[in-house]
Subunit: 401 residues, 2 copies
Amino acid sequence: KRRYTITLLPGDGIGPEVISVAKNVLNLTGSLEGIEFGFKEMPMGGAALDLTGVPLPEETLSTAKQSDAVLLGAIGGYKWDKNEKHLKPETGLLQLREGLKVFANLRPASVLPQDVSGLNSIFHCITRAHVVLVIVLRYKPLVEFISTFSLTYFRMTLVDASTLKKEVAEGVDLMVVRELTGGIYFGKPRGFGMNENGEEIGFNTEIYATYEIDRIARVAFETARKRRGKLCSVDKANVLEASMFWRKRVMAIALEYPDVELTHMYVDNAAMQLVRNPKQFDTIVTNNIFGDILSDEASMITGSIGMLPSASLGEAGPGLFEPIHGSAPDIAGKDKANPLATILSAAMLLKYGLGEEEAALRIETAVLDTLTRGFRTGDIYSGENKLVGCKEMGDEVLKSI
Amino acid sequence: KRRYTITLLPGDGIGPEVISVAKNVLNLTGSLEGIEFGFKEMPMGGAALDLTGVPLPEETLSTAKQSDAVLLGAIGGYKWDKNEKHLKPETGLLQLREGLKVFANLRPASVLPQDVSGLNSIFHCITRAHVVLVIVLRYKPLVEFISTFSLTYFRMTLVDASTLKKEVAEGVDLMVVRELTGGIYFGKPRGFGMNENGEEIGFNTEIYATYEIDRIARVAFETARKRRGKLCSVDKANVLEASMFWRKRVMAIALEYPDVELTHMYVDNAAMQLVRNPKQFDTIVTNNIFGDILSDEASMITGSIGMLPSASLGEAGPGLFEPIHGSAPDIAGKDKANPLATILSAAMLLKYGLGEEEAALRIETAVLDTLTRGFRTGDIYSGENKLVGCKEMGDEVLKSI
Ligand SMILES: CC(C)[C@H](C(=O)O)[C@@H](O)C(=O)O
Ligand SMILES: CC(C)[C@H](C(=O)O)[C@@H](O)C(=O)O
């Protein structure tokens, strides 16, 4: 029996609900696949603040570091919104990313035609998944691992759920590669103070060094190479020095990837083009803050942020897997959350974090099957299917497994 | 006869084409309304670089400062993309904004039902415009001026041109109030250098002082008060100190506006919500860089960035009026540009920059009439109307005048 230690970080809001469902899914899958999971559930975010006074207790970080992979629910909520910086749930998440050194955040967004529920599409998905699986071996380097991402998962979002016109949304299949441990999120100096005129100020530093850009650029080029060979680097190089430097390094790394078509786009234009014609994008690489904004915008284009998983990876050590959505305090505790993004994050954890492809495929197939059987949570419900809550959706996925 | 000096800055790409059309429109309108315009056409952007070696010649800035209003086409192009920072066309634009001290950039985005072309809608528009005009007196303070913006113009964008579903796009009527002379665009220190490890770096500073936030917040509250009374302040206060300070000051200024409903939203969520449900927004206020991104995204929701004007205003001195769109080098010189955004910017210049309401209304009405008569440039053409180029569109507007 294979044994893995998984750190579970339920966090806040709907986090505990979706993590509890994903844990059941992992357990059942494990028992059928001969895998034993040792779960360590640790507090973080607002929950940790309430319990221990800090958003990322040392023990949580060290447990995470020592485990084989980390699955996070969501963090944050109104309750802690006015906390000082170091006592914000979000600060705990930033410390976790920094602590695990997961500099590459991969956020896919795809839209599948509504007929996903037809067997055809499913088998198409699964076949593609299998083809891909054959070439993904356990413990292959990071880049290998990333490359096959979007081919398999995330194709199950339903075109009708998008607010974009069908012909605009259908067939969108893009991947945002976001730099996650640098830029204005971590740059110093930062803080509050006074200017020459004695006026109060607040300030942050957007800053990138060569190695930070180079490594994320390589991840992005590798990703693009295994996808459709197109990489769009997004910056604001017409105004910001940090962006000019970003562009310079990306162009330098491009020399290693002559087979990948590199373009550059200003961030304001990218925000526009994502709405105008998202199909033009294959892989997007960008800094931490632009990636935050654009990946959220892109995920909304698919119409269901409730179904999109993400992975954050470093050069070594456990990866961090989490749904793209937030803690949704407005529906927390109401059994309304869509657990599929977290279940799919768990599948990604299996496949990419542990190399357990068969187990991952089992979950993936079960999610597709559950959707095929017509079950929908509120966020993707369109009036014709079976409306279920978070727990029931989880139970249906268990049945499909 | 009233006489005004207008500085025209054609700039680059399609800039000269749209400015030339707008100039004709201003001239004809003036001759019918008893206004005489003294135009001073000055180089800026890439055109100025080629001519004088700098993107904003001193003479251009001083001419602009001494005039009654400034009308800008567009700047930038591939040719100068790799120029050093101080030799970029964009740097000229930033210097112009700084030089004119126009700290408040107002970018409306509205979508009108397709039946705009019905007389009903037009008269509705015009009536609303008139009602508003009565309360806008010449030389009233800035805030008065801003308040009536979106009521009158910008309602003519056609819902079919949007990539969003009709029920999502229809009825969108929002205004982005963007801080324009501060933040990461101007913050120091900035530049290139080396870190402790001898690695190259590029960096910028996001920074706001009390007075900068207070004055843009007041403009935004005044705008919201005269609109639907809702203001959404967008920041990233869960991560950035500059945003925490922004939020603190906006909340302080809110005490002066108990009648305006203030909410706060994180920028990633705002980028998402603009796609998910743009109708939830009335007035948005945000910093320079987030405003750059979100206003472009919002304008694309209307489906026609080619029709949206904008105004940049300070506490005194001439305002800067320009279309929201860029220089579109790909269609430059091909007589394909949509001149309506610039024509409407000229109308805004008349109304808000010079207090010439009647003349402004004449232009506004002419644009509506031209659309009603079925003329469309490529960007808003949907197959059923009369496809025209930039010049012909301008001629049709002249006929309508
Ligand atoms: C919660 C917040 C700190 C975080 C971020 O800005 O990175 C979130 O928005 C995300 O995208 O994961
Ligand atoms: C051209 C560029 C400097 C400018 C900006 O970023 O402000 C433009 O994108 C705009 O929004 O007016």
